[in-house]
C-alpha cells in the first residue's frame, strides 16, 4: 500500500492508508475515546470534542460521497487485517463502499451531528452529559461500521455494539426505575433476537468459506438451487435479528419503552440509526433475499403486520413521544416492505430511499418534541396541547416534519413512500401474492399515518376560546417530571383540581385564569447551532425528494402510476378531515379522546405485550434458574456427603471383620474354596 498520498483530482481517489471510509467509522469512535480520556468534568470540553468530531465525520462522509460520485472510492478497504482461523474460513474483515451505503453514511453522520449539537442544549444541566456525548459518538461509529462493513463479522460487531450503546443511552437517567427497566428490556429483547443472527451468519459464511459479503452473495447466488433450504434458514435467522433490532412484530415492545431515554438519544436511536440498521443489513443481502421466496413472504408478513399494528397504536398513544416511537416502528416496516417487494436482480434502492427520508423527518420530529417538552414540561397530551399555538418559532418546523411523515407531496416522505406503493401495486398486478398483501397493508398505513399525523398536529395547534391551564415548570425533560402514565391518570388516581377539591370524573377540568404570568418568561431556546441543524433537517425533508433524480439512486420515477398517487392523496385528505371532525369539542383537541378508554389505556401499554414477554420468557427462565440452583445445591450436598459415606462404609467393613471368630472362619473358608474354584477353572 504506497503510503504516498496522491490525490487523483479527477476521481479523487486517495490511495492513502486511511480512506475516507475509515475516517467515517473511526472519527465518531475517536470522539467517544477522547471524551472519556481527556475531559474530566467539563461538559463544555466534551461538547467541543463531540461537535468537531461530528463535523469532521460529516465532512469525511461528504468526501466519500464525492469520491463515490466520481467513481474513485476504494471498493473494499482493509481494516485490522485478515484473521487467520485455519483453511476452512477466510475472514478478510474488509469494508465495502457502494453508492447506497455512502448515502446512508452521510445521513447517519448528519443526524448524529445534529443530535450532538441539540443534546448540548437539551442536557445542559445534566451531570452525565460527558457519558452521553461519548456514547452517542460510539453509537454513530457502530452504525457507520454496519453501514460500510463488507464483512459478516464486522456487521455483527457493529450490530451488538449499537445494542450496547442503546442500553447505555436508554439507561442514561438510571435514577429512574422505569429507565433501568426499559434499558434492561431493550438490550435483552434485541439480544434474544440476535441469538439466531450468529447462527444465520455462520451458515452463510461457512457455506461460502469466507465472511466477506460480496463472496457470500456470489456463492449463494450460484448455490441457491441445491442449498435452498439452508439459504432460507439462514435468511430467516437474519430476518429474526432484523425484526429484533428494528422492533418488528414479535420484538416490538422494547421501542416505546426506550422513550425513557433522553429525547436526543431517542432521536438518534429511532430515527436514523439503530432501527434502520436492519434495513441496511438486508439491503446488503438483498440479492439473496430475492432468491428465497419463503424468506420474502415471511419478511412481508412481519413488516405488514407491524406496520399496520404500530400505526393503530400510534393513533391511540397518550404520550406524543410514544406516538413517534410507534410511528417509527410503522415506517421501518415500510422500509422492509420496500426491500421485500423488489423484483429479482433489482438493487435495494426503494428501501434505502425511504430510510434516508425517514431519517430526515423523524430526527426532526423527535428533536422538536424534545424542544417542546422543555417548553411545556412534558410530552403527554395534556401538556403538549396547544404548545404550538404559544410557541410560533417551532410551528413551521413541526409542520414540515408532520407533512413529510404523512407523505404529502412534494416532501421527501411522499416521494419514497409512493415509490414503494407503486412497486407493490406493479408486483401485485403481475401476480405476486406477498406484493398483494403488502399493497393492502400499504393502503391502510397511508390512511393511518395521515390519521395520527393530523391528530398530533391538531393537538399541538389546539387553541381554546377560554384560557388554558398552563402549568409552568420549565425544567428538563425527565428529571422532576411526574411522568404520569395514562393508566394511573385515567384509571383511578383521584383527580384533584388546582384548589385541592376532588374532581368528579365527568365534569371537565375548570379553566383557571392564567393570571400569575408576570410578563413573558424568556422561552428556553436551543442554541443557534441546534436551530440551524433543525432548519437543515427541515429543508432536507422538503427538497430531499430530488435525490431520486440524481444518479446515486436508480429509481424509475418516470412511469409512476398517477392514478394511484391521486387516489392516495384523496384518501389522506378524507382521513385528515375525519380526524379534524373527531377532534372538535375535545378538551385538548385530541381526536383519540373519542375512542373508548380501555382501548386507549391498553394501547398506551402496547396491548400488554410486555406482560406477555414477562409471562412467556422471563418468568419461566427465572423459574428454571431457581430449579437449576436447587439442583446445584443438591449436587453440592451430595458432594459434601461423599466423605461421610466413605467413612461409614469403612466402619462397617471393620466391624464385620472383628465380630466373631467363627463367622470370620467361615468367611476365610469360603474365600479359600472360591480361590480353589478359580484355580480349577482357569488352570
Amino acid at each position: 500500500m504506497p503510503s504516498a498520498s496522491r490525490l487523483d483530482t479527477q476521481s479523487l481517489a486517495l490511495d492513502l492508508v486511511l480512506q475516507p471510509s475509515h475516517l467515517v467509522v473511526l472519527l465518531p469512535a475517536a470522539v467517544s475515546v477522547l471524551i472519556l480520556v481527556l475531559t474530566r468534568r467539563s461538559a463544555r470540553g466534551a461538547f467541543v470534542i463531540a461537535a468537531i468530531g461530528g463535523l469532521l465525520g460529516l465532512l469525511a462522509a461528504a468526501a466519500l460521497l464525492a469520491q463515490q460520485a466520481r467513481g474513485g472510492a476504494v471498493a473494499d478497504p482493509r481494516t485490522i487485517g485478515e484473521l487467520k482461523v485455519g483453511p476452512a474460513l477466510a475472514v478478510p474483515l474488509r469494508l465495502q463502499v457502494d453508492r447506497l451505503m455512502v448515502l446512508v453514511a452521510v445521513a447517519v453522520a448528519l443526524v448524529s451531528l445534529v443530535v450532538q449539537v441539540f443534546a448540548r442544549w437539551y442536557l445542559y444541566s445534566d451531570p452525565r452529559y460527558r457519558q452521553f456525548a461519548a456514547t452517542v459518538g460510539l453509537f454513530t461509529a457502530a452504525m457507520q461500521l454496519v453501514v460500510l462493513s463488507g464483512d459478516v463479522l464486522l456487521i455483527l460487531v457493529g450490530w451488538e455494539l449499537m445494542g450496547w450503546c442503546s442500553y447505555l443511552l436508554i439507561g442514561h437517567e438510571s435514577e429512574r426505575a422505569k429507565a433501568r427497566r426499559a434499558s434492561y428490556k431493550a438490550f435483552l429483547v434485541t439480544r434474544i433476537a440476535d441469538a439466531p443472527f450468529a447462527i444465520g451468519l455462520a451458515v452463510l459464511a461457512l457455506g461460502a468459506r469466507s465472511t466477506s459479503i460480496p463472496q457470500i452473495v456470489q456463492h449463494w447466488q450460484s448455490a441457491a438451487a441445491d442449498h435452498g433450504t439452508a439459504l432460507t434458514a439462514a435468511l430467516l435467522c437474519v430476518i429474526c435479528a432484523v425484526a429484533g433490532k428494528s422492533a418488528q412484530v414479535p420484538f416490538q415492545d422494547w421501542l416505546p419503552d426506550a422513550m425513557e431515554g433522553p429525547t436526543p438519544a431517542s432521536a438518534l436511536i429511532h430515527a436514523a440509526t439503530m432501527v434502520a440498521a436492519g434495513t441496511v443489513v438486508l439491503a446488503k443481502l438483498v440479492a439473496l433475499l430475492e432468491l428465497s421466496g419463503t424468506a420474502r413472504v415471511v419478511l412481508t408478513i412481519v413488516a405488514s403486520v407491524s406496520m399496520v399494528g404500530a400505526a393503530v397504536l400510534a393513533f391511540c398513544q397518550h404520550d406524543l413521544k410514544r406516538l413517534l416511537a410507534w410511528s417509527t416502528v410503522s415506517q421501518v416496516g415500510l422500509m422492509l416492505l420496500g426491500l421485500a417487494v423488489l423484483p429479482v436482480r433489482e438493487p435495494a434502492d426503494l428501501g434505502i430511499s425511504h430510510l434516508l427520508s425517514h431519517a430526515m423527518f423523524k430526527a426532526l420530529l423527535f428533536l422538536l418534541i424534545g424542544w417542546l417538552s422543555v417548553l411545556v414540561g412534558g410530552t403527554i397530551v395534556e401538556r403538549q396541547s396547544g404548545a404550538l399555538s404559544k410557541h410560533l418559532a417551532v410551528r413551521w418546523l413541526v409542520g414540515i416534519g408532520l407533512l413529510a411523515l404523512a407523505g404529502v407531496p412534494p416532501l421527501v416522505g411522499f416521494v419514497s413512500k409512493d415509490l414503494i406503493v407503486d412497486e407493490a401495486a406493479r408486483r401485485g398486478v403481475d401476480g405476486d401474492v406477498s406484493a398483494r398483501i403488502a399493497f393492502v397493508a400499504l393502503v391502510c398505513v397511508v390512511a393511518l399515518t395521515a390519521a395520527y399525523t393530523t391528530r398530533m398536529w391538531l393537538i399541538l395547534v389546539h387553541r381554546t376560546g377560554r384560557q388554558r391551564v398552563v402549568v409552568r415548570e420549565a425544567v428538563e425533560d425527565s428529571y422532576d417530571i411526574r411522568d404520569v402514565g395514562i393508566v394511573e391518570m385515567l384509571a383511578g388516581s383521584p383527580q384533584v383540581d388546582v384548589h385541592g377539591r376532588p374532581l368528579r370524573r365527568d365534569e371537565p377540568m375548570p379553566p383557571v385564569v392564567d393570571d400569575d404570568d408576570d410578563g413573558p418568561l424568556p422561552e428556553p431556546q436551543p442554541g443557534a447551532g441546534a436551530r440551524t441543524g433543525l432548519q437543515l433537517l427541515a429543508i432536507l425533508s422538503i427538497v430531499g425528494g430530488a435525490l431520486i433524480f440524481s444518479p446515486m439512486l436508480e429509481v424509475d420515477w418516470e412511469n409512476a402510476n398517477l392514478w394511484l398517487i391521486g387516489a392516495s392523496l384523496v384518501l389522506m385528505a378524507a382521513v385528515a378531515l375525519l380526524v379534524r371532525l373527531m377532534s372538535i369539542g375535545t378538551v385538548y383537541g385530541d381526536a383519540a379522546a373519542r375512542l373508548p378508554l380501555p382501548l386507549r389505556s391498553s394501547a398506551s401499554r402496547g396491548f400488554d405485550v410486555d406482560a406477555g414477554y414477562v409471562g412467556l420468557v422471563a418468568r419461566p427462565v427465572v423459574a428454571l434458574a431457581r430449579g437449576v440452583a436447587r439442583l446445584e445445591g443438591g449436587l453440592d450436598r451430595g458432594v459434601q456427603a461423599l466423605p461421610a459415606l466413605v467413612t461409614r462404609v469403612a466402619g462397617a467393613g471393620f466391624r464385620l471383620h472383628t465380630r466373631r471368630p467363627t463367622s470370620g472362619l467361615v468367611a476365610v473358608a469360603l474365600g479359600v474354596v472360591l480361590v480353589g474354584l478359580m484355580g480349577v477353572i482357569w488352570w
Binding site: G86, P127, V157, E175, R176, V621, A625, L635, D636
Partner: protein
C-alpha cells in the same frame, strides 16, 4: 537465552519458598520486604517470559532416564500467549495483594503462596514432557489450598475449611486420573516427550480409554459441567488475589492440558468422545448462565460465569476444526484476562462493602466510584461477549467452529450444540445486565445522580491492576489478530498432525 527458560519458572518458585521459609525464622518477614521480594521475582519472570516469547529458546536434557522423563523446556504458538498472560497476571496479582492484604496469616506466607502458584503455572506452560508436566501441574495444589484455607474469607472458618477440603479432594482426584492416563500413554508409546507422543499415536481402542481417563481428570480442572461444584465454593472463600490466580492460571492449565495431553496425542480417542464432552460443556454454559440469574453472592456469580465461559472454550476444543481450536485458545486467554479483571473489581467491592450480597441496597456504583464502575462495566460487557472487547471473538468463532465440526463428528448434533451455546450467550447477557442493574445503576427512584466519593474509588495498586486488565481486554477485543496470528502457526501444525 536458555537462562530465561530456567529463570521464568524458577524465580517465583525460589522466591516463594524463601518467603514461606522466611516466616519460620523467629522474626516473621515484614509486609514490605515480602512485597518487594515478590514484586522483583514476578518482574524477573515477566521479563524472562518476554525474552522466551521473543526468540523461543529450547532446553532438552535427560532428567530421570528410568521413567523416560526429560527436562524439556520449549514454547510454541499455543503456550506463548498463556506464558505471557500468567507472568503478567502474576505481577498484577502481587501488586493487588499489597493493596488488599487479607488477615489470617503472615504476609510472608501469603506472598510466598502466590509466587508458588505463579511459578507452577509458568512451569506448566513451559514444560514439553508429560511427566514433568504432571509435576508442574501439582506444584500449584498446596499453595492454593493454603491461600483458600488460611487467607480465605475471615468471616466463617468452617466454610473456609470445607471449601479448601473440597478443592483439594476434587483436584487430587483429577490429578490421579491424569497421572494414570499419562503413565499408560507414556509406557504404551515408550516416550514421555509431548511432541513425539503426538507423532505416533496408540491404537484406536486404547486411545479412547486413555482419552476418557485424561478428559475426566482434566475436566475437573477446567471445570466442565458435572465436575464443577468445587469452583464456586473455592472462589467465594478465596482472597481476591487467590481468586484472580485461580481464574487466570489454574483454569488455563486445565484447558492447556487438554490441548497438549489429549487432543494432540489421542486424536481418534478425542473424536469418539467429542460429542459427549461437548454436550457437557454446553450444558455447563446454560447451567452456569441459569444459576447466575438467581445467584445472590456477587463473587460466586462471577465464578459461575467462568464455568459458563470455559464451556465455550471446551466446545471449541471438541469441534476438532482449526476455527474451533483458534476460538478455544482465544477464548481461553480472553477469559483469563476478563475474569482476573472481574475478580479484582468484585474483590475490591467485597472489601469495601464488607460482603457481596446483591440483595443489600447500596448506592449506585456509577456515581460513587466512577473508575471502579468503568472497570466493572468493561468486565461484565466482555463477559457477555460485547464486540470490541475480548469475550466476543472467542464465542463467535467457537459457534462458527462447532457449526462444521471436523473428522466424523455428527454434524447435526454439533449444530444443535452451537445453537444452544448461542442461547447460552444470551443468558450471559441476562446475568451480566442483572449485575449491572443492581450494582452499577443502583436502586434510587427519581432524584439527581449522587456526587462521586473519591475515597471509595479505585486508587493506587488496585487502579493500576484494573487499568492494565481493562486495557488488555479492549486491545484484545479491537485487535484480535495479535493473538490469533501467534497461535495460528501452532494450530495449523497441530491440525496437520491430528488430521493425518
Amino acid at each position: 537465552m536458555v537462562a530465561a527458560l530456567l529463570a521464568a519458572p524458577l524465580a517465583p518458585i525460589v522466591a516463594g519458598l524463601a518467603l514461606v521459609a522466611g516466616d519460620r525464622v523467629p522474626r516473621a518477614v515484614s509486609r514490605h520486604t515480602a512485597y518487594a521480594v515478590s514484586l522483583a521475582a514476578t518482574l524477573i519472570s515477566l521479563l524472562a517470559a518476554a525474552l522466551i516469547a521473543y526468540d523461543r529458546p529450547s532446553l532438552n536434557r535427560p532428567w530421570v532416564p528410568e521413567v523416560g522423563m526429560r527436562l524439556h523446556l520449549a514454547v510454541d504458538g499455543i503456550s506463548v500467549p498463556l506464558l505471557l498472560m500468567t507472568a503478567a497476571v502474576g505481577v498484577l496479582v502481587v501488586i493487588h495483594a499489597r493493596h488488599e492484604q487479607p488477615g489470617g496469616g503472615t504476609p510472608g506466607t501469603f506472598f510466598g503462596c502466590l509466587l508458588l502458584v505463579i511459578g507452577g503455572g509458568i512451569a506448566t506452560f513451559l514444560v514439553q514432557d508429560a511427566i514433568s508436566f504432571f509435576l508442574a501441574f501439582e506444584v500449584v495444589l498446596v499453595p492454593m489450598w493454603v491461600l483458600i484455607n488460611r487467607f480465605g474469607d475471615p468471616k466463617d472458618a468452617s466454610e473456609r475449611a470445607r471449601a479448601a477440603a473440597t478443592f483439594v479432594l476434587y483436584t487430587v482426584l483429577g490429578s490421579t486420573l491424569m497421572l494414570v492416563g499419562i503413565l499408560t500413554m507414556v509406557f504404551a508409546s515408550g516416550t514421555a516427550d509431548l511432541a513425539t507422543l503426538a507423532r505416533h499415536p496408540l491404537p484406536a481402542g486404547q486411545q479412547t480409554v486413555v482419552a476418557a481417563i485424561l478428559l475426566i481428570g482434566l475436566a475437573i480442572k477446567v471445570p466442565i459441567w458435572p465436575l464443577h461444584s468445587w469452583l464456586p465454593r473455592a472462589h467465594t472463600i478465596a482472597p481476591t488475589a487467590g481468586s484472580m490466580l485461580l481464574a487466570a492460571v489454574l483454569l488455563k492449565m486445565g484447558t492447556y492440558g487438554i490441548v497438549r495431553l489429549v487432543i494432540a496425542p489421542l486424536p481418534a480417542g478425542v473424536e469418539r468422545l467429542a460429542p459427549y464432552v461437548a454436550t457437557c460443556a454446553v450444558i455447563g454454559i446454560v447451567w452456569g448462565g441459569l444459576v447466575c440469574l438467581v445467584e445472590r453472592s456477587l463473587k460466586r456469580l462471577i465464578a459461575w460465569s467462568s464455568v459458563a465461559h470455559m464451556g465455550f472454550v471446551v466446545l471449541g476444543l471438541m469441534s476438532g476444526t482449526a476455527i474451533g481450536l483458534q476460538a478455544a485458545l482465544f477464548a481461553n486467554i480472553a477469559h483469563g484476562v476478563v475474569s482476573a479483571l472481574l475478580f479484582a473489581v468484585v474483590g475490591g467491592l467485597k472489601h469495601r462493602w464488607g460482603g457481596d450480597d446483591l440483595s443489600v441496597a447500596r448506592r449506585a456504583l456509577r456515581d460513587v466510584s466512577p473508575r471502579l464502575s468503568l472497570a466493572l462495566v468493561i468486565g461484565l460487557a466482555a463477559s457477555l461477549g460485547l464486540p470490541g472487547l475480548a469475550g466476543f471473538w472467542g464465542e463467535v468463532l467457537a459457534i462458527f467452529g462447532a457449526w462444521n465440526p471436523g473428522g466424523d463428528r455428527s454434524t447435526g448434533w454439533f449444530r444443535l450444540l452451537a445453537a444452544v451455546a448461542a442461547v447460552g450467550a444470551v443468558l450471559a447477557a441476562a446475568y451480566a445486565l442483572r449485575v449491572l442493574r443492581i450494582v452499577w445503576m443502583g436502586d434510587a427512584d427519581g432524584g439527581r445522580p449522587l456526587p462521586p466519593s473519591p475515597e471509595s474509588d479505585a486508587r493506587g495498586g488496585e487502579l493500576v491492576v484494573v487499568t492494565v486488565l481493562g486495557a488488555a481486554t479492549v486491545v484484545l477485543g479491537v485487535l484480535p489478530i495479535i493473538l490469533l496470528n501467534t497461535t495460528s502457526g501452532a494450530v495449523d501444525h497441530l491440525m496437520a498432525v491430528v488430521g493425518r
